[in-house]
Amino acid sequence: MTNRNLNFKHRVAVVGAGLTLFRSRMLETPQELAWLAAKQALDEAGLTLKDIDCVVIGSAPDAFDGVHMKGEYLAEGAGGIHKPTIRVFVGGATGVFVPIAAWWHVASGLCKRVLAVAEEKMSHAAKPHTQYVFRYIWDPVVEKPLNPNLIWIFAMEMHRYMHKCGVKKEDIALVSVKNKRNACGHPSAQLCMPNITVDDVLKSEVLVWPVQLLDISPTSDGAAAVVLASEEEARRITDTPVWIKGIGWTLDTTHWTNRDLAYPEYVRRAAEMAYRMAGIDNPRKQIDVAEPYDPFDYKELHHMEGLGLAKKCEAPILTREGVTQRDGDLPINPSGGLLGVGNPIAAAGLMKVAEIFWQVRGEAGERQVKKPVYTGLAQAWGDLMQAGTVIVMGI
């Protein structure tokens, strides 16, 4: 089958999804978290481990769980023993990269049923703080001697975006309020805050101006999983497969000083790849619901613009007008996102894919968006804030 400029043999569908609780510290070991999510995804698909041909695992730096070769370590809980198993890793973008990698396992004809599992146990990296892991992602020559902190960079990016687009903190805080309220409908959520207001965000502790405590997602433990199947298998497994219509991923330079900080080019390019494959030329009209990556509130806005769901500098306006609410014309992060559900890095990205799966199936419960969903999108972003991963799914 030839679809635009990409060649693949088989259409691929998602047929089941699973998710653990997201919490700041879970008793379960990383393997056990992976198993909880994997088992749930298999159960939802009505499959057992025996039905799985290949396994794809995603997890962010080994340093969080504190187990080097984390992919190999997780393999047992992810159901990968004695099967072709691989771990993929593109930092925070990993969660959406896991189903992308699983997609090519099936689309190529290599495997028929693939289990894709993402896990993160950030709480293991205990002292002095989980954030310390990020001390070791910098360029050792030009950045490391400054002892940079990840939040500094976000603060600078956020500030640049505010400056270029004339966005006020109040507008950005609306994203945090929306997502932390949305999270109250999510059974896995770590930060459901039903009564949070813009004022609460603006009065929260200033970490690195303009970043305040309630602008940020928490650190979390958790796992997520999806089962992918070829068209023939998917139709056998379920009456309601959710098709993967487009995938895209790109990297920008690791030097964040050499990028446009106000506009995420890495997301635009990844989205263009996915849209071309999915036959989407007007995402604002053709995407019914989206889960852009929101580890910080301003990133949701940033990424909406990169995804073409809003024009440059337009996302804060759409947010203010209520367009991005669950009952709005373009619901954004109805799950509650990373800001509300939590941020076990790779698992958080895959949680978004699971959300789109459930939204398309009409199985999102009280999170179900008001408008009918034919096509949805999930996106993640990571490495040194340079990787973009996008997946488009639909009926």
Binding site: R25, M26, L27, E28, T29, Q31, E32, W35, A38, K39, L42, T48, L49, A63, G66, E76, G77, G79, I81, K121, S123, H124, A125, A126, K127, P128, Y132, V133, Y136, P140, V141, K144, P145
Partner: protein, 143 residues
């Protein structure tokens, strides 16, 4: 004086705090009580170590531990002659992989012996003060 050629860094987090998992916690509690146990799968009935909340063979949930007769068999062993820094040890250490009949997997542990043998039967020497660690077994000794 620091040379301009390099930027030195020690890449480590100061401390990790690892969770044992629900079944692993029970296993450690049993060790503290001086009992050796293995996880039991309700579906296939296998007993296995290390214990975890799922059966690695069929993915079934595991909640139960069964006490295991603490007599193991040395499946293989090595003799450690030097420490981490390459210095000769004052006392050589025997490190063995010990299997327990009827249990999948097993334990790596020290065996106190001057004459290690493949297939030798060993049992744990428990510490008087136990804290819920695998080192609550000080070492294994010949039966």
């Amino acid at each position: 004086m620091r040379r301009i050629k390099h930027f030195p860094e020690v890449m480590e987090i100061e401390a990790y705090i690892y969770t044992a998992g629900p079944v692993g916690t029970k296993w450690l509690e049993a060790l503290r009580a001086g009992r050796l146990t293995a996880a039991r799968c309700p579906k296939c009935g296998r007993l296995f170590m290390p214990p975890k909340m799922f059966c690695p063979y069929d993915f079934e949930e595991v909640k139960e531990l069964r006490e295991v007769e603490p007599v193991g068999v040395v499946e293989t062993y090595t003799v450690v002659e030097r420490d981490f820094y390459g210095e000769p040890l004052r006392e050589r250490k025997v490190l063995a992989f010990i299997k327990f009949p009827g249990v999948e997997g097993g334990l790596i542990h020290y065996v106190k012996t001057d004459n290690p043998q493949m297939g030798m039967r060993v049992r744990p020497r428990w510490r008087a003060e136990r804290r819920g660690l695998v080192t609550d077994i000080e070492y294994f000794e010949e039966v």
